[in-house]
């Protein structure tokens, strides 16, 4: 479903990514590990279309993303370090804003259902500016329940979440993977990711290599 061929990226003279090749199928979760500055966030920014791909090819659901970015954005959802929420709006209004920008025609009860599912029903009508980082993260992830994307891109999804939030997120991701969605996630937290069936990859010096899962031998 996702195919990357020879993806490269540089900031000025500095090469960040050098020839990334990757295939991700439906129901698969790929986790990117790597040191700070190894290019994990850059790779996710390219996959989200936030950064433009200058060298290489990126296909999502057979769409050439370099050419048809708008169509691709319809099929993916990116949740990064920023939650993209407006502090002066309530969770219901924030989700309504998101739904309209994505062309989703959803009733208010559907929005409240999603807010309830992430455990924020008691704060559904309060401005988001008073929310903690964990509550904002939960609300950002509630978008996933509304959009039902084909590809979910997550940059450090466990940050700011408490133990209950981590459990809830992993349960949600497991359901999402079982329904045929694909996940590409950057994380520094193998213990929390362990609850998900996944393929770990390591990003170093701009190159991506597959890693062995704990208890597995190194891939050839």
């Amino acid at each position: 479903m996702v195919r990357l061929e020879g993806l490269q990226h540089r900031f000025g003279q500095q090469k960040i990514l050098q020839g990334i090749n990757l295939e991700v199928h439906r129901g698969e979760c790929v986790v990117l590990y790597g040191a700070n500055g190894s290019g994990k966030s850059t790779l996710l920014a390219l996959l989200s279309t936030r950064l433009t791909i200058r060298v290489g090819h990126y296909f999502l659901d057979d769409i050439d993303v370099n050419r048809y970015g708008d169509m691709a954005r319809d099929r993916l959802l990116f949740v990064g370090h920023h939650t993209h929420l407006y502090g002066h709006l309530t969770p219901v209004e924030n989700l309504l804003f998101f739904a309209d920008l994505r062309g989703l025609d959803l009733s208010e009860s559907r929005l409240r259902q999603a807010i309830d599912a992430v455990g924020l029903s008691r704060s559904a009508d309060k401005p988001v500016q008073w929310f903690s980082a964990g509550m904002r993260k939960r609300l950002a992830l509630a978008r996933m329940l509304l959009a039902e994307p084909l590809l979910l891109l997550l940059d450090e999804p466990y940050s700011a979440l408490d133990a209950q939030g981590v459990g809830w997120l992993n349960a949600m991701l497991n359901r999402y993977l079982e329904s045929g969605g694909a996940v590409i996630m950057a994380s520094h937290d193998p213990e929390r990711v362990a609850a998900l069936p996944h393929r770990p990859h390591h990003l170093a010096r701009g190159q991506l290599s597959s890693m062995a899962l704990p208890g597995e031998s190194e891939p050839c």
């Binding site: 989200s48 279309t49 936030r50 950064l51 433009t52 708008d70 169509m71 954005r73 319809d74 990116f78 990064g80 370090h81 920023h82 939650t83 993209h84 929420l85 407006y86 502090g87 002066h88 709006l89 209004e93 309504l96 804003f97 309209d100 920008l101 994505r102 062309g103 904002r136």
Partner: protein, 221 residues
């Protein structure tokens, strides 16, 4: 797509009315400018009619600059601008929504300051109010269109408000001159309006055709 643009404009206008941030600053600024001008010139009726077009457009321009300085303020927090760019609508639609929100706030201020100006300067031209409002509105289309693009361009700059003014003033000078002349034409018995209106429309068309495309190009990284 129109729904997306409407939602962006709604978010800006409703959010601003809720926080009373931009609109109140614009209004306060406009009233201050008018009061200072009135106190400085103390014009008689005849002089006031001559001054009114320039006064109105100067106030509109300064007030628009105040609004433009804050047009992307809501997008500063928590990566909201990035969130907009990740929406599955063309970037031109995002621009259209931001422009529409700014336009509505500016038109609202104009609607309030025009009668105030006429009272403060004792100008008896109430029958011309719809025509003057129409000209102001027409000029504001282009002014806010180009202004929204420049606001997006200077968004990350440290002294963005100064930079915005430096870029906007020369680029909108032809539009402002046309607007001043058109209002002057309305206020004078034998005034000429049509050619200035045509110029205003041409500038509007040029600015509004160019800016959504330029916005898409501007936000590419």
């Amino acid at each position: 797509m129109l729904k997306a643009a409407y939602r962006i404009a709604w978010k800006d206008v409703a959010g601003d009315l809720r926080r009373r941030a931009t609109l109140s600053s614009m209004l306060f600024f406009a009233i201050s400018v008018l009061v200072v001008f009135q106190a400085a010139f103390e014009p008689d009726r005849k002089e006031a009619v001559r001054l009114l077009p320039g006064l109105l457009w100067a106030t509109t321009l300064f007030t628009t600059l105040v609004g433009l300085g804050r047009v992307f303020q809501a997008e500063e927090e928590d990566g909201a601008f990035e969130g907009l760019l990740l929406a599955s609508v063309p970037r031109g639609v995002i621009f259209f929504g931001k422009w529409l929100g700014n336009l509505l706030l500016t038109l609202l201020v104009e609607l309030l300051i025009l009668p105030l100006t006429m009272v403060l300067f004792n100008v008896d031209a109430w029958t011309q109010v719809p025509a003057i409002l129409g000209i102001l509105g027409l000029g504001t289309l282009g002014l806010t269109g180009l202004g929204t693009l420049l606001a997006a361009m200077t968004r990350g700059a440290r002294s963005r408000e100064t930079l915005l003014a430096l870029l906007l003033l020369p680029l909108t000078a032809p539009l402002l001159i046309s607007g001043v002349q058109a209002v002057a034409g309305v206020l004078q018995p034998d005034g000429v309006v049509a050619p200035w209106l045509k110029l205003l429309i041409i500038f509007d068309l040029v600015y509004l055709a160019m800016t959504p495309w330029a916005f898409g190009w501007l936000v590419e990284e």
